[in-house]
Symmetry: C2
Subunit: 515 residues, 2 copies
């Protein structure tokens, strides 16, 4: 029993390359939700023959045929989103980080003490992120264990792949929204982890692995006492598969306060490093006057919270030493350009991080970012890289990505496969390949999608009209046509162009799901 | 005979203030399309009484009642858009200006030699810009007189307010897309002007003034010989009401080439200046090594092309002397941040220009910009100002706008009233006031608008949920609620939130028009 898709398919391969297949035939097992096989150039008349050659009886196979202007891509991975802040989308543009937290964010989050409110709000939130094509999300909940269990339940019901954590925050937070002690915070965390791990598979779930996973979520170092970070580090050490997410080096004031809260000598010794030889010559030098012994990343590392399944949001102002440390630990960066522009945090040097071999994905950072769509994050990641390149002035001669604009292929990679790496799920998702889960989108750049920002490509004439760049000369190759459609979707698309959303082989969202 | 709107209304007053009226009653004359009167605080039960007090018989008045979450604002003014580039939306992100012109733009524009193609493409283009809420647009056509007449005809048929110009370009353009001589370019320009001025009023047009106006459109100095600019200057001098649009100081290579093409001594004497005392101490100093006698703005000025109805797109790298000159001439700047990020042109110092009293509006600059929506331009103008502020580092103590982030009120002003000023139409459009044309949008931030990026505000509860910022404390004032809705629309809205578009009192676009 399988579902087979026939039509265009685009999937990332490396940071600078992707496969663009005009006539792909891809088969998804209905039993497992995984991709059984992928053939890359099948003529229209040969579809049934190829299916038969793979040993399937034709009556057990549904064939979904994509139209001109439609194509399959891997689902987006949103590596940083605050679920309880979605109702605040488009509020508070005037603030920087620390004021924005106290004026806009904490008041909203505190309302999730009310379980009814949480249930209504989260149902609406998850519907939206799925319909925007985020097949995997790394969610911060609030500090409330109950509301965050509800969040996990809602995600589980909708069939999205996700990491769900409750915020740990027992200091430097308003008195109406703070945990009473490190111990209370740790107890609530253990309770949430147990709840998520006990979620039953949905009745029609094809997957053998859980879609919803727990994640440790110390909000940021500022909001956690050393005792709390120490307790979280112990939890992590007991359970190497347990993911970790937090914020790092978003804003200058935040960095100063973090260093003040964790002076040298206040920190335990970090676990031994596998490799201290990493070179970081082009990263940012440590600011003068700061203590040589403490970095923001070093605080997390001292408590054992920096490892290959740690997701660090922002990393706008990382120092050289931190870049080396993050690389050595194998942690990943969630790049959140919308938020970084919006809260005036700065422009992260993503190209430099890529040149250091650090894993990078994209995050919407709702509602520091004002859009729930990874498409907006793609556009702003492009703009952020261009701002960094302009700031440097001349294009550096000997770098691959550092201080350069990011090519389309790289942006596509960050939104999909890069996000999968940051989540340490690269063997299961992030690209469309045999053996991976079918987490995918059917995208349409046709007029009937109804998004007037996309010049429709329903007919061969419109296709040519939209893509012709060379006056009267040669026609586009099929690969160039697909590249044009991908660029158009990434820069002009919205939820209307996301026709179908699949997670682990199951149809769970998109424009056609709502209709 | 009148149409009267009852509900919330938001309209700009100054660069930093707007009126937000929860219970406005506004009457539009069906004979003229102008706003007859506006009352600012009318109880629901008093609507008929107030209408009667204004002397209207109730049977001759339609009352449109807006719902909670709906509000009236002035229509957007897109002060810079290339109509023939709309089919290229979302293409060519990898190029800077001059390469982008030759690789992406000129090949598409050359196709408008075909009148059938032009008619089909432009019909689709104008439908889109109207539905995004751009009630006035400053359009560049191609170099073709015929295609640009078609553009004017289509706009006229749809009832949009617009300036329409054909590009003047007789050098430094590809041989398949260049005018044969200055004289041919001028003849075609005169022909287009005559065509536009002879357009009949539409059968049911309420306006006594033309909606579609001609505009001189030297593409940029690089593409025009001195003889062509001189001819255009003479045309302008004969006709002070004739508007002018061109590009200025978008990209560093463009500036260098412009100065090379117009060396000192090659320029005629400009018309006398009314005021040479303008101070521009905070503008950009002239780059070292450039000739002291020539600026980019000075080239246009020498030919008499800089005046109060001149629209200058970009102004990213203006020198001190140019800022003073533009101010003295009363010309306006079209700020196109999407394009400036996208083509790596730089970040315009809009706050500095505002502090110098220069008129500024927003432009989408399709397809240098990848969005046809002024909402995107608002978001990117905010981001651009934040990038400029970050570049400077510290917030300057003694400036109002220079190198600071732009408040919501300023962004709203630029998108509406600022654009009207740049078009020299500030007495007729740009705000909702007695005696002005009713160029307006009915906006909805309700869930039923169908845009999942906007947290719906259909009910009092959702309204409070969306806007509460202070935990359990006081309720929002009505003005704060409206401010929240405006911010949400500007940062998260799209065409689905633009329910109805009116130009000169006539319902001509928006989501409800299409349904």
């Amino acid at each position: 029993m399988a579902t087979t898709f026939y039509g265009a398919l685009i999937t990332p391969t490396t940071l600078t390359e992707y496969r663009a297949l005009p006539r792909a035939l891809l088969s998804v097992s209905r039993a497992t939700g995984d991709i059984e096989w992928l053939e890359d150039d099948v003529a229209a008349g040969e579809v049934q023959d190829v299916i038969a050659r793979h040993g399937a009886a034709s009556e057990s196979v549904d064939v979904v045929r994509l139209k001109l202007g439609e194509f399959l891509i891997p689902g987006f991975v949103d590596t940083h989103i605050h679920a309880p802040q979605v109702p605040n989308l488009g509020s508070g543009q005037e603030h920087e980080l620390l004021d924005w937290l106290s004026e806009v964010t904490f008041p909203m989050e505190s309302r999730f003490a009310d379980a009814d409110f949480a249930k209504r709000a989260y149902s609406s939130v998850i519907r939206r992120t799925l319909d925007y094509g985020s097949t995997t999300c790394c969610y911060y909940g609030t500090l409330h264990a109950e509301a965050t269990k509800i969040l996990a339940d809602v995600i589980h019901g909708y069939g999205q792949r996700a990491f769900v954590g409750k915020c740990n925050m027992n200091r430097n937070s308003p008195e109406y929204y703070v945990e009473p002690s490190a111990e209370a915070s740790l107890t609530a965390t253990r309770e949430l982890i147990a709840h998520i791990r006990a979620l039953p598979p949905p009745p029609d779930a094809p997957a053998s692995e859980p879609l919803v996973r727990p994640i440790l979520t110390p909000r940021f170092a500022i909001s956690c006492t050393g005792a709390l970070l120490d307790g979280l580090g112990r939890l992590a050490a007991e359970d190497p598969a347990l993911a970790i997410q937090t914020h790092i080096s978003e804003n200058e004031s935040e960095i100063v306060l973090t260093k003040k809260l964790f002076p040298p000598g206040s920190l335990p010794s970090p676990p031994p490093l596998p490799n201290r030889k990493e070179k970081t010559q082009t990263a940012r030098p440590k600011p003068k006057g700061t203590d040589p012994g403490v970095t923001y990343a070093g605080v997390y590392d001292a408590f054992g919270l920096l490892r290959r399944n740690t997701i660090l949001a922002h990393g706008v102002h990382l120092e050289e030493e931190e870049v080396a440390l993050i690389k050595a630990r194998g942690a990943g960066i969630s790049h959140c350009p919308t938020s970084n522009f919006n809260l005036r945090s700065g422009s992260a040097r993503i190209g430099m991080l890529l040149d250091h071999g650090i894993k990078v994905g994209l995050g919407t950072d709702v509602s520091g970012g004002f859009s729930p769509s990874i498409l907006t994050a793609v556009q702003h990641a492009s703009m952020c890289a261009k701002v960094v390149a302009l700031r440097t002035g001349t294009t550096p001669a000997h770098t691959r990505f550092t201080d350069r604009q990011l090519p389309m292929a790289t942006l596509f990679y960050l939104a999909t496969r890069g996000g999968a790496e940051v989540c340490d799920l690269q063997t299961r998702i992030g690209s469309l390949e045999k053996g991976k889960a079918f987490d995918a989108l059917v995208v349409s750049v046709r007029s009937e999608a109804g998004n007037p920002a996309v010049w429709g490509m329903d007919t061969a004439e419109e296709l040519e009209m939209g893509l012709a760049r060379d006056g009267k000369a040669r026609a586009k190759t099929e690969r160039e046509e697909l590249a044009g459609m991908l660029e158009r979707f990434l820069f002009c698309g919205d939820d209307r162009n996301v026709r179908r959303v699949y997670v682990q082989g199951k149809f769970v969202g998109g424009k056609e799901w709502r209709q």
